[in-house]
Symmetry: D2
Subunit: 332 residues, 4 copies
Amino acid sequence: MKRKVGIIGLGYWGQNLLRNFMAATDVIACCDTDPAVLAKLKEKQPYFKLFGDVGEFLKDSKAEAVVIATPPDMHKELALSAIEAGAHVLVEKPLGISVKECDQIIEAAEKNNRIVMVDHTFVYHPAVQLLKDRIKSNEFGDLLYYDSVRVNFGKFQKTNVLWDLAPHDLSILQYFLDNKMPRAVSAVAATHLGVEGLCYITLTYDNGFVAHLHVNWMAPVKVRTIMVGGSKKMALYDDNQPAEKIKIYDKEIKRFEEKSDDVRIRYRVGDMVAPVVPDKEALANVVSEFSNCIENNRQPVSNASFGRNIVRILEAATESVKKQGLPIPLNI
Amino acid sequence: MKRKVGIIGLGYWGQNLLRNFMAATDVIACCDTDPAVLAKLKEKQPYFKLFGDVGEFLKDSKAEAVVIATPPDMHKELALSAIEAGAHVLVEKPLGISVKECDQIIEAAEKNNRIVMVDHTFVYHPAVQLLKDRIKSNEFGDLLYYDSVRVNFGKFQKTNVLWDLAPHDLSILQYFLDNKMPRAVSAVAATHLGVEGLCYITLTYDNGFVAHLHVNWMAPVKVRTIMVGGSKKMALYDDNQPAEKIKIYDKEIKRFEEKSDDVRIRYRVGDMVAPVVPDKEALANVVSEFSNCIENNRQPVSNASFGRNIVRILEAATESVKKQGLPIPLNI
Amino acid sequence: MKRKVGIIGLGYWGQNLLRNFMAATDVIACCDTDPAVLAKLKEKQPYFKLFGDVGEFLKDSKAEAVVIATPPDMHKELALSAIEAGAHVLVEKPLGISVKECDQIIEAAEKNNRIVMVDHTFVYHPAVQLLKDRIKSNEFGDLLYYDSVRVNFGKFQKTNVLWDLAPHDLSILQYFLDNKMPRAVSAVAATHLGVEGLCYITLTYDNGFVAHLHVNWMAPVKVRTIMVGGSKKMALYDDNQPAEKIKIYDKEIKRFEEKSDDVRIRYRVGDMVAPVVPDKEALANVVSEFSNCIENNRQPVSNASFGRNIVRILEAATESVKKQGLPIPLNI
Amino acid sequence: MKRKVGIIGLGYWGQNLLRNFMAATDVIACCDTDPAVLAKLKEKQPYFKLFGDVGEFLKDSKAEAVVIATPPDMHKELALSAIEAGAHVLVEKPLGISVKECDQIIEAAEKNNRIVMVDHTFVYHPAVQLLKDRIKSNEFGDLLYYDSVRVNFGKFQKTNVLWDLAPHDLSILQYFLDNKMPRAVSAVAATHLGVEGLCYITLTYDNGFVAHLHVNWMAPVKVRTIMVGGSKKMALYDDNQPAEKIKIYDKEIKRFEEKSDDVRIRYRVGDMVAPVVPDKEALANVVSEFSNCIENNRQPVSNASFGRNIVRILEAATESVKKQGLPIPLNI
């Protein structure tokens, strides 16, 4: 049975969500404060119930599931209202703009027994899922590092580059690490025209694993690469490539005859393989996970607690930026 | 008149130095502790005076200029001896393994009125010099950031990746910034098989400029890219490319109608230009700078003080690694 | 005043045409033989007049301009009917499947004083127009060669790769050369599963200029590169690149002191420039050219005669393939 | 026992040959008409016997094996003289400048029972040998096409681009095809400054296989790619890449339910693999093959007859260029 779904916020990402929810569920209502957006929508989808006011939408739309695709500072209020109106909720990333907000959402969801899922789309990207499977099967051996470069020229948002781009990598990272949190987070930013447009975020872990993110709106070229280094194999995921996005390198660094003080190291180099990545839109997977979780009353991979952890890291990174890169411990 | 030159240490880099000094000066003596190296050299260059012992080399070689291409922990002793023997000295990077060592070398050079130059080869690379010229002429506007990725698979050295690879970028950075030192340095490393094989180094400056280095011996692929972001233009220098190593992007981010609180930003995108880079070996430029400085009794760009600053940053980065990424201030 | 437009054929390309015509003209009617296509269209565009039969469409649609996006073997009949019904016509490439068909269309268009334009989309691509401007201004000097590689894995069509992919390059070529025809055409094909899936086409010209096309559906990777060699400069157009599609190389080969028999040649290498290419969809330019030509009763760049020349070359290439690569003269 | 080897011609390639022969054999004599070359050599290799005259070299050098690295128009005379003087011979490619010359060399070699090998270096390149092994094991299925692009900017030679660059691909092709000759060859060239600087060569075979070479000295960029298409797999060999030179694509085009007239085709896409290519210099393999053939009195892969076939194809291509691309049959 198809779920009755309502969507709040029909900007760029809201339109993508709408398209995917229309393909797999029964979208019945939409809400946006911009009358022009509603008028355009009415022309294309005459049978939708359209609302300019969220209160009325929640009262009258009869949506069992509500999708929230508004600016982040509105997420908490909308999510709480939707949950209290009895709906399951999918919230665009990040879940909220503070850990405190996230905690309120988690509490409401538990109290009302509603599913809250965060649209951390990359977790549902076939390439990320393939890498996750390989990590899980121990193909890479012990993980040594995660290195991401996510840079391009523009577009400056109202928020800064840390809160705009880093959630992507943090969600991939949390997924790869089974939600294990870093011991400490440090971050340094470069500010241009009053906004942090470049940010380096370093995450250190108890076991020596290191993760590093370079997010940048002021780079001359677009780069989207993630390197994952393991003790047995290494992977390079280049999301900019039209094909062969993932390359797995059978390269290993081994200690050799540990008899002396010398660092005697041997390098093993095998074939590189670019595995076939299933050709499915990540957002379609988001929709099916959300529907499936509601149907079976189970928690999605990117549930509210998953989303809260990412906001926790973003908060710590923000504090570190203010303190010129001081590592902020997360163990409290 | 060609200088009489002697070389100590004929490993991989020493051979490169030998080849370039032979092309432009009068190499008269070589010293290496490995008899096999000397035997091979004798076959090719029967007229060289060859020494297995540094003391004898310094006493008998009659070299006016001495090139030191040994492991870094021998630099200080050899440099001091050579200076005291009356020779001008070119030392492979880094100048020493501590600021204290560097200070001793500087003091000896001043006392004996000898030239000490550090072979920070990249400072003399035509591509780096082209970028320096453009920065100097203010073509890029205010500098916002320097981002370097210098990663590959192998070769683990006796030292760690920080002291092996970072001196390249630190020398380029100091050259670009006219020796201006950062306010603080932080660094985080990942250790594999007992050696730091990956290191992220972040340098912050009083004026908001940020520099960041990613050096890595455990990456599946070789990357050698430097991005320089300015308020008017940006550059990408990819040393891995066989041609068009430097690309200059006429891209600018501007504030637009600053009337309200809104971040209203406009993007200007012009042509990309890959300027012709003169086809000259950097090491040949090193040799001619060294000869020229001796001839004219002037300081080289990468003089002992320049080399000391880089060791100062490496020391601070080493301390930061030990303190899990704590920013170490340099203003003392 | 917006033109009243009708579209025949709503497959993959027909949908693209529909979208662009809707943005700039008044689409009033569509025709497709597939009831499922019409049903889907009715849902989205309830105000369109929809037809399953071309005769009724031409009789009742009242379209002043008709767009034909059917398989090529239907173009001639449909174009003639539309012209006789008084409409201006835009035909998807190629204009027809023989020169004879093209001549009939040209004759009908002249007799009825109607505009016939062929949708050779690449002629209206901003990157191609930029190159055309540079060629026209003699920036490249004398043209020496045109080399295109247009290869990928799949999709086999009912026609062969020659008639499917080569029209793109032939249209660019004819545009660059101001419709100058080659002296002779030769072509060799490789057949797999009963269809020509790879074809090399060589075009020779009176003045020594050579053009060469490699079209291939059986290549492991997608390549879309065009090299244009001139006596003063050279260009590389890589349509696969997300940015910097065109690179202009200031490279020149010059004869040097022609005193002896020796081929003494000097190479001049200047900067490479990737000029900004206006970001406009080629198909939007097709629509505006078509509208403009109707408005002002002038001939489009890719008029029927332009389209006929391309079919002439395709016919000759087909003959050459049958004769194992025999050059087929075109001067008759 | 190491062979006593003499080398005639010490230009760019001769120096490479010298270096590799010195590493594996006993080079005893060299011959070059340029006194400056000999003087430089004397300095480095004081124990070599040096000759400015070929006659004296052949009479007095006592070389058992002679390497000929002169311009091609001298190959025949030198090879014949060396054979008659009792030496085995390695000739730089091409073997001669006409089939007639090649036949004379073959005849002399047979009469005197001497080994004649042509230095078609690519046949001994580890990447080419890897591909040959895969082809032999039928991993690619039936071969459909061979496509090579070997283009760059400069260097014009005294000969034309056809005779300079095409021998590389022709040797790879003959190696892959077990010396099977094409049915016909056609070629078209573009001439600049009086020399053919670009040439397209098409080779057709009885079984429908097609080979195509694009060689060009007037291209703005350097490209070195070979695509091999098979019915089961495809390979891309990019010699410009520093790593992963060979990529093998598990891609197959299959006919699907052959019930109707329709071309119903299905595409199978599996993983891409970049196999490890042994890191050995091709020229070292050339030297060991030559030595080994002399030792065991067996024919090298690139023997005189192999070299003659390549000259046969070059002759036919030359004739085709003169006849504006007319296919020249080779079955006579």
